[in-house]
Each structure stands twice: as structure tokens, then as C-alpha cells.
């Protein structure tokens, strides 16, 4: 918030002019011997005298923002001065042009409003300015403008389907592996060998066995292993659903934005893997520092949530491809509006990773678009569709997150294990 700069009362000049006029009217009435004319000057003089009052202290503004589930509550307080007649308060929500209310000093001490939640992430919620007015309208003190910002947490979503990498890690986990181990899934029966645990001996099978009595039969089980998942976010774009607002960056007009889809997508994917006991890493393709190293557990989820919530769009940022763990499943969250990210997906797929392209471009809203806009959007969409088809062609799973059935699409992809 900006510091105080205009804590000073100043006159607008109306009271002085009125005082002079009152003196003239009174003087004319008295000189002309006209009490009725002099009487006209009396209320003018009284009003001018009222305009001479000076309030005590200076008024200051405080704005607090509280994010709730489905709304943002803003509280504005103008206080600090006594003798204020009213307060002219201009407030603009979400970078929209301001609207003005004129309220009594008492009301200005406790103003509250609720705003809809439009986007997730860090954002400007309310910009407040105005002036306190005293002395019947003749004294004015400009209030220092305040900008209230808030960081809105993304919505919590869940996905039920986990795509596993082509190879699991060697660490024990929740997924059945193809090697021998101590999991719960039965693999086969085999003769006892040194190193086998005694509790694995299957006595019934041993008794039924035609082999000599000295040969014990043990039950062998599959091992379990954990998966390594990497979620990579392309934060260069934050395009909204309203096509005519692309490039204007007016948060209240652009509709659902791509980062509004991307943040919950990243969190839903990370939460699902972490709850299954797997390891998850998060990388921002543009901002190298905004990453969460591979790890597991609830604290890792909270770390990823904190990093993703603070993610800001960085248009024109250079892509920095992260180093991926061996045989990970990679979720690439992007709008795929250019070839750079698609090339990364192909690169990672060719390196043996399982790659899932999460398309977070919102469903287009062509309201208000003229013919040029529609044509440009059509061309862009065709190019994008070609790009996504090329990804499908190299066995990259493409999931449009804007579709309500993205979980179903992930489940289908889970069944169709592609080439290794």
C-alpha cells in the first residue's frame, strides 16, 4: 500500500466567496435602509461562518480483504478526523473503472461489500480513493489511494484416475510392480530357496507337492513400488474465455482464464498422486524458482499449493525445461498456443516418459467479436488443433481440462497403455 501523501485539508473557495457576498448583501441592506435585504444576508453569513469550521485531525483510509469460499469480503474504513460532514469514496473492483458513493462520516467508518471471486491467484481486488469533506462542503482532504490485493486459493478438485509411468521406481509404494517382493498380490508358487522368509512357506502346497519331502513350497508375491509424477506448468499465458479481451488484460471482463483452469488442475493431479503415496514434483516452465522438488506426503501438497497459488502469468518468458526423474509420468499443463511447449512434450515422450498434455485453454466465448476476431480465432484454433493432433500421434495423452469429463478421459487413457 502507498504511504500517506495528501494529509492536508484545503478550501475549495466557495465559503470565502459566500462570505464576501454575505458582507456585500448585509452592507447594501444596511446602507439602503432595507432590513429585508439585510435579512437575506443573514443565512448567507451563517453558512459562510459554518464553512469556517476546521475539522480535527486527518482522515485516513484502511482497506482489508478477506477471501471466503465463494466471495471476497472487502472492508473499508475512513477514520481519524472529527468534524467531517461526509466522505466521497471512489472504489474500483478488479481494475474496473471506479464507482463513487457519498456517505456520512459514521458510515464511512465501517463500509463492507462482497465481491464475486473471478480468478484465482494473486490479484488486485479493490482500489479505493476519494476525499473527506467538511465545513458544509468547503473543506476537502484528499484520501490517499489504497490498493487492496488478495491471493485467492484455487478451487479444490479431485481426479480418481492415476496414469502410471511406464516404469515404476525401486522404492516401495502403492502400485503393484512386475518384480518379486513383499506386496499383497500373489505371483506364483516356487521351491524354497535360501533367503525366502519362513512365513512364505505354503504348507498345504508343500503337502500336495509330489516332490520329495525336503522340498518346501513358498508363495511368491509381487512387489509394490511408487510412481514418480512431474507436473509442469506453462505460466506464460493467462488468456480468458472472452476472445475480444485477449491482450486487454481486464480481469473482470476476460472470463475464466487459463491459469484459473491450470491451478486447480495442477493441484488435483498432485493431490491424487500424493494421496496414493507417490512422489510428485512441480515445475514452472518460465519461473525457475517457482518449483517444488520431488517428494511425497501432505507437506509436499501444501508446498505445491503455495507455489501454484502464487503463480503469475509471465508473457514472453523464456522456457526453461526442468530435469526430469527417470521414467516419470509428466503432466504438461499449458494452453498449447505455440509450438515451443508441444516440442517439449515430444522431447520428453521420446526420452521414454509418459506424457500427458493438460490443455487449459478455456472454452471460447465469441460474444462481441467482429468478423476479424472470429477469423483470427478460427485460424488460431486450427493451428492449435494440428499441434494437439501431432502430440496424439506420438502417444502423448491430450486431456482438455475445460471439459467436465476430464476425469473420464484420464481413466480411458489409464486403460490404453501406450507403447513403451
Amino acid at each position: 500500500m502507498s504511504g500517506p501523501t495528501q494529509q492536508r485539508w484545503h478550501r475549495r473557495g466557495g465559503g470565502g466567496a459566500l462570505g464576501m457576498l454575505a458582507i456585500v448583501v448585509l452592507a447594501v441592506g444596511l446602507v439602503a435602509g432595507r432590513a429585508d435585504v439585510a435579512l437575506l444576508g443573514l443565512p448567507l453569513a451563517a453558512t459562510a461562518a459554518v464553512a469556517l469550521r476546521r475539522p480535527d485531525g486527518v482522515a485516513t483510509t484502511a482497506v482489508t480483504v478477506t477471501a471466503e469460499d465463494d466471495a471476497v469480503r472487502v472492508a473499508v474504513q475512513v477514520a481519524g478526523a472529527s468534524g467531517v460532514d461526509f466522505v466521497v469514496l471512489s472504489s474500483g473492483a478488479y481494475e474496473e473503472p471506479p464507482t463513487t458513493v457519498v456517505v456520512s462520516a459514521r458510515r464511512a467508518a465501517a463500509l463492507e461489500a462482497r465481491l464475486p471471486v473471478l480468478h484465482s491467484g494473486p490479484q488486485e481486488v479493490l482500489r479505493v480513493g476519494g476525499r473527506a469533506v467538511a465545513a458544509g462542503g468547503d473543506l476537502v482532504q484528499h484520501l490517499d489511494p489504497r490498493i487492496a490485493r488478495a491471493t485467492i486459493a484455487p478451487a479444490r478438485e479431485r481426479i480418481a484416475s492415476l496414469l502410471l509411468p511406464h516404469r515404476l521406481t525401486n522404492r516401495p509404494g502403492a502400485h503393484p510392480a512386475r518384480r518379486l517382493g513383499d506386496g499383497l498380490d500373489f505371483r506364483d508358487l516356487a521351491p524354497f530357496t535360501p533367503g525366502d522368509r519362513l512365513r512364505r512357506i505354503d504348507w498345504r502346497a508343500t503337502a500336495r507337492s509330489p516332490r520329495p519331502e525336503s522340498d518346501l513350497i513358498v508363495r511368491r508375491m509381487d512387489a509394490t513400488a511408487e510412481a514418480a509424477a512431474v507436473v509442469v506448468l506453462d505460466s506464460r499465458d493467462d488468456v480468458g474465455s472472452v476472445i475480444v479481451e485477449w491482450g486487454s488484460d481486464r480481469p473482470a471482463r476476460k472470463g475464466v482464464a487459463s491459469l484459473d483452469l491450470a491451478r486447480p488442475a495442477v493441484l488435483a493431479i498432485a493431490a491424487s498422486y500424493l494421496e496414493a503415496g507417490d512422489r510428485v514434483a512441480f515445475h514452472d516452465l518460465v519461473r525457475a524458482g517457482a518449483s517444488a522438488r520431488s517428494g511425497g506426503g501432505r507437506r509436499k501438497l501444501e508446498q505445491i499449493r503455495a507455489v501454484v497459488t502464487q503463480t503469475l502469468p509471465r508473457p514472453g518468458g523464456a522456457l526453461r525445461a526442468p530435469v526430469l526423474p527417470t521414467a516419470a509420468v509428466v503432466y504438461l499443463v499449458s494452453t498449447f498456443l505455440d509450438d515451443d511447449v508441444a516440442a517439449l512434450a515430444v522431447l520428453w515422450r521420446n526420452a521414454g516418459h509418459r506424457v500427458v498434455a493438460i490443455d487449459v485453454l478455456p472454452a471460447p466465448d465469441l460474444e462481441g467479436a467482429d468478423e476479424q476476431h472470429r477469423l483470427a480465432h478460427r485460424v488460431l484454433q486450427l493451428e492449435r488443433e494440428d499441434r494437439l493432433n501431432r502430440l496424439r500421434g506420438v502417444d502423448v495423452t491430450v486431456v482438455p481440462w475445460r471439459d467436465a469429463d476430464h476425469d473420464v478421459q484420464l481413466r480411458q487413457a489409464e486403460r490404453l497403455r501406450g507403447r513403451r
Binding site: R8, G14, G15, G16, A17, L18, G19, M20, L21, V24, L26, L30, G33, A35, D36, A38, L39, G41, L42, P43, L44, A45, A46, T47, A48, A49, L52, V74, V76, D85, F86, V87, V88, L89, S91, A93, E96, T99, V101, V102, V103, S104, R107, L111, A113, L115, L118, L126, G136, G137, D138, V140, V242, V244, E245, R253, G255, E367, G368, A369
Partner: protein, 177 residues
């Protein structure tokens, strides 16, 4: 360039009963016209109406003070022997006019004006009007029977000197600030 037609998002502070800010300049114009009709005649009436409209449109200019001066001149041109209840109405109208002018200069036209915000101005206006209307009633009652002018001149002169002194002092304090 095409633009989104989505409705604007606004912080709607609940402020209770309110009127649009444009009501104030409209009220200035209406009161100015009524006062002109009350006290002005012939060509001066036309000037008064035009000034009233100009005041409503450009309330931050000098036209409000010209209108007040014109109304005082109009009262001066009336026959002092024919004072009637219109004097009380004029005292009220002129007072309300200047109060509204000061308010309208401070309140944006495009705003929601909480009625309670007008409370201090209304209270002061009411208190001053009690005194002014009593004086007007005394003046009307004493017309032709009491010699009120010498006494009024003395009191008015003292008030004038006092007001001038306060104004000079205030200017000096403002300059020192």
C-alpha cells in the same frame, strides 16, 4: 475495436437510502428558478431563470454567486412597503440555494449520495433558519408599527464587522498552514 459486453463488477457498499448525486445540481436549478419566480420580474426573471439553469449545469463556476446577488438585487428593487410572506420563503430559498451549491460542488454528479450524508448540512440549515425565520416574522410583524431599521442596522453592522474579522483571521491561518 470490439469489446466485451459483460456487466461491470462493482463494489456495492450497502449505504441505506440514497439518491443519485445529480439530484443536487438539479435541486440547485429548481430552487434557483423558484426563488427567481418569487422575487424577480420581467427581464430580471428571465436572467434569473437562465442563471439558475447555468448554475445547475456549471455549479463549480461563479454563476451561483451571480444568481444570489441577482436575487438580492431583485429584493432590493421591490417596494419595502409591500413585504409579505414571500420574504420568509425567499430567506429560506436563498439559504437552501447556497447550501445546495456548496454541497453540489463537493459531490460528484455520478455518485450514490447517502441521504444521511446530508444530515450535518440539514441540521445547520435548520438551526439557522429558525433564527432567520423568527427575524423575518418580527420584521413582517413590525412593518409600519415599529422602527426596526435603526436597531437592525446596529446589530447588522456589528455582525458585519465580526464576520469580516473572522474571515480575515481564517485566511491568515490558512496561509500559515
Amino acid at each position: 475495436m470490439s469489446e466485451s459486453t459483460r456487466p461491470r463488477v462493482r463494489a456495492r457498499f450497502p449505504i441505506g437510502p440514497w439518491v443519485p448525486g445529480v439530484v443536487l445540481p438539479i435541486a440547485v436549478g429548481v430552487v434557483g428558478i423558484l426563488a427567481s419566480l418569487l422575487v424577480l420580474q420581467d427581464a430580471l426573471l428571465l436572467v434569473g431563470v437562465v442563471l439558475s439553469i447555468a448554475t445547475a449545469v456549471r455549479v463549480r463556476s461563479a454563476t451561483p454567486w451571480l444568481l444570489v446577488a441577482l436575487l438580492a438585487v431583485g429584493q432590493l428593487s421591490r417596494d419595502p412597503a409591500g413585504l409579505d410572506a414571500s420574504l420568509s420563503a425567499l430567506v429560506l430559498g436563498l439559504h437552501v440555494l447556497v447550501v445546495l451549491v456548496l454541497l453540489a460542488r463537493a459531490v460528484p454528479v455520478r455518485s450514490r449520495l447517502q441521504l444521511a450524508a446530508l444530515g450535518p448540512a440539514a441540521l445547520t440549515t435548520g438551526l439557522v433558519q429558525v433564527l432567520a425565520q423568527v427575524l423575518a416574522a418580527l420584521l413582517l410583524a413590525s412593518q409600519g408599527r415599529l422602527e426596526v431599521l435603526p436597531a437592525a442596522s446596529t446589530v447588522g453592522g456589528a455582525l458585519l464587522v465580526l464576520l469580516a474579522g473572522v474571515l480575515v483571521l481564517t485566511r491568515r491561518v490558512d496561509r500559515e498552514d
